[in-house]
Amino acid sequence: MIRITRKVEFSASHFYNNPNFSPEENRRIFGKCNNPHGHGHNYTLEVTIAGEPDPATGMVLDLKELKDILQREVMDRMDHRHLNYEVPELAGKIPTCENIAAVIWQLLEPKITRGELDRVRLYESPNLFADCTAGSTNGAGKRA
């Protein structure tokens, strides 16, 4: 099995606010990310496809096709957008790195025509990223 990875970058704004929390709770839990005017990031998205190369082409999935899928599903939806207001898939969710990566996984998975979606890695900054991978759900984790 071979894994291939394509990288794209997009810029978007967001802020964190849960309407079920009081303003004080929102500020305490989300800190600077609660600023209602929002703030922005340059996101870097790495998408990995795993599979056997097609003997006829030598490719797991034509990277041109993957590039087009990423353009349609991610860039057109999220690049230079406000993630709280302009991405219906994130409606009602806090647009954290974890939630955005999960939405991107759900958008891409049905569109991959050869190989299988193996990993979605979304960097919010060089020092923070979320990984979404195939496999069992997160139920095994513990939370205080």
Binding site: I29, T96, P126, A130, G141, R143
Partner: protein
């Protein structure tokens, strides 16, 4: 679908690779430049990966407001701008290779209460990286 969150930290530290049970000649042969008795240093990059359910109320596996101070107290305070051999108790008797530093940092972080520690990865330089996963500590 499984989600994890990785946070990257930096620390700068010096170390010397020297195994007291080996002769000086063997130490020089095995560790080469890293055996220099005066030590040397690196800018280490530390990646901490946690996993667990995403809290629907916050959208988070863990709040960085919890993770950052935990890593600061458990690791960075004791490692940053330090001599690992002289100032980190565990490395008085254990060679501070980055393999051993990975395991020690995992041990220090594995009781993080808000999420499950999945992996510790260290870049000793931009060319060398080391990682240890939860399966080793299961």
């Amino acid at each position: 679908m499984k989600l994890s969150l990785t946070r990257r930290y930096d620390f700068a530290a010096s170390h010397r690779l020297h195994a007291p049970q080996l002769s000086d000649a063997e130490n020089r042969r095995i560790y080469g430049k890293c055996n220099n008795p005066y030590g040397h240093g690196h800018n280490y990059a530390l990646e901490v990966t946690v996993t667990g359910p995403v809290d629907p109320a916050t959208g988070m596996i863990t709040n960085l407001g919890d993770l950052d101070p935990f890593v600061e107290r458990a690791v960075l305070e004791g490692f940053d701008q330090k001599n690992l051999n002289e100032e980190v108790a565990e490395f008085k008797t254990l060679v501070p290779t980055t393999e051993n530093v990975c395991r020690e940092i995992f041990r220090r972080l594995q009781n993080f209460p808000a999420a499950k520690l999945e992996r510790v990865r260290i870049e000793e330089t931009s060319k060398n990286s080391f990682e240890v996963g939860a399966e080793e500590f299961a």
